[in-house]
Symmetry: C2
Subunit: 284 residues, 2 copies
């Protein structure tokens, strides 16, 4: 049987027109290429080129051979593509969440549990999360509700309760808790990537001027140095800590509480078993 390199050579010759030019692009010598083709013809049992003393042109068989060779090479290319994709996926865990806080908690655990894996994490809206989990774009997805599907395993991960962080001089500070509507109309600091929470803010606080911060670090500095109210949550405070000199009031709106669920495909359950033992433990 001929070999793939011979087919590559054949195609290269037709693409570059002459042996010499093709040889140059293939980084081999001209005689080597000449012999490669001779060998291919010998193996097939008939010539692929009409040979004049100083010119080679494809004959009828050659034309067909090139067409077929391209098909073989395409198939070979598909093979490496598919294998590389699989191999990459075997070493990557793509996590996506509807909100940032569960991600902050989960990513360190995943990293420690699978130290040889590359991990990516994203914040996406709920529909994208569901779709991405189904089509294997994401292996782990965090939703604010369990995903009812036979192929999906959902498991409760954590609850988040939003709070408002107010300067002590703020008129609402005396309350035990407040509703978002009570704050509406002020200027507030807000982190940009808050996932599905942003929808809540837009709905309940349409008149508020949000000072959107794209970096958590900057937000923290501004919150400490200014009198602007900002949001926080039980999870944020647990991981980042409280800001001193601030009054923390719970948001009383029903929607200011969320329960997050880790969702994975049943087919990858085995792979993530170890992970769940750890997340279960940590979520208690």
């Amino acid at each position: 049987m001929f070999e793939i390199y011979q087919l590559e050579h054949l195609v290269a010759i037709t693409e570059y027109g002459t042996l010499s030019l093709a040889a140059e692009h293939l980084h081999i010598s001209q005689p080597t290429l000449s012999r490669s083709i001779q060998k291919l013809e010998e193996e097939l049992g008939f010539p692929l080129f009409d040979r004049l003393k100083n010119k080679m042109t494809l004959n009828e068989s050659g034309e067909l051979a090139v067409e077929c060779a391209r098909n073989v090479l395409k198939e070979a290319d598909i093979m490496v593509q598919r294998l590389n994709t699989l191999e990459r996926s075997r070493h990557t865990i793509n996590i996506a969440s509807c909100a940032p806080a569960p991600l902050w908690m989960l990513t360190p655990i995943v990293s420690r549990t699978f130290p040889n894996m590359t991990m990516s994490s994203e914040i996406r809206d709920i529909e994208e999360l569901k779709k991405g989990l189904m089509d294997d774009t994401y292996q782990i997805v965090i939703l604010p509700e369990p995903l009812e599907d036979n192929n999906i395993y959902s498991h409760k991960y954590c609850e988040e309760q939003l709070y408002v962080s107010l300067p002590p001089a703020h008129p609402l500070c005396g309350h035990k808790g407040i509703y978002m509507s009570e704050l509406d109309g002020e200027s507030m600091l807000l982190f940009s990537e808050i996932g599905f929470w942003s929808k809540l803010h837009k709905e309940k606080m349409p008149h508020t001027h949000f000072l959107i911060q794209h970096e958590a670090e900057t937000l923290d500095v501004l919150a400490r140095a200014s009198a602007f109210p900002s949001f926080t949550s039980n999870l944020v405070m647990k991981s980042v800590g409280k800001i001193p000199n601030r009054v923390i009031l719970p948001l009383l709106d029903e929607e200011a509480t969320a329960t997050f669920y880790i969702c994975i495909k049943q087919s990858s359950n085995k792979k993530f078993n170890l992970l769940f033992n750890r997340t279960k433990f940590l979520s208690q």
Copy 2:
């Protein structure tokens, strides 16, 4: 890039289960096969097998690799099939005719015109001839009518007039010519492969007992040695000669005369140019 032989080896291993068995069937040594796979894995950049000290089993990547390898090999196989088919067709001329006589005339000319070609000739019914010409089963077809099609070149080849060959004692011998119906009811010698003529005989002479002969040689001997009437034609007499001591009468039925046309695809016109120069000359 990996090579085809490596894919063959990979597939062989999965088919025969173990390295040793596969190596045996591939007619190579076991270490050679072992290295071949190692090299494939090295080129891909990841292992395809889980290796125990004493056992190799495909891993996830390996399973996919085998699936893809089969596709590549299938494509390679298609390549040799198509090339071989083309190559064979380049050295073969398939002729088919609706009647034997034009074939007897044409085949020697084709043989002499294309001495390096393998030639096959068949007698088929008219519909088969048309279809076969279209789908390249036949390159040359002889029909009793021109084929009206833009892709087809038809050219008048010869005319055949049927005769009856009677023993001198036969009651019809005095006539200048006879109709087939006049002979109906007798026993007659008839060659088996007469193509579209047989339909005519069946229609016009339904009560005749045909003594079918499958060999031209035998038919000739019987015709010379017996008193049975038989058929002949201008073309037969021209190529085989007349039978002595027989009265030859033309058949007066309109259908006992046929004009034959050589039909080829326009696309093969160039190839058969030389042939037509000769057949035109000979048909005059």
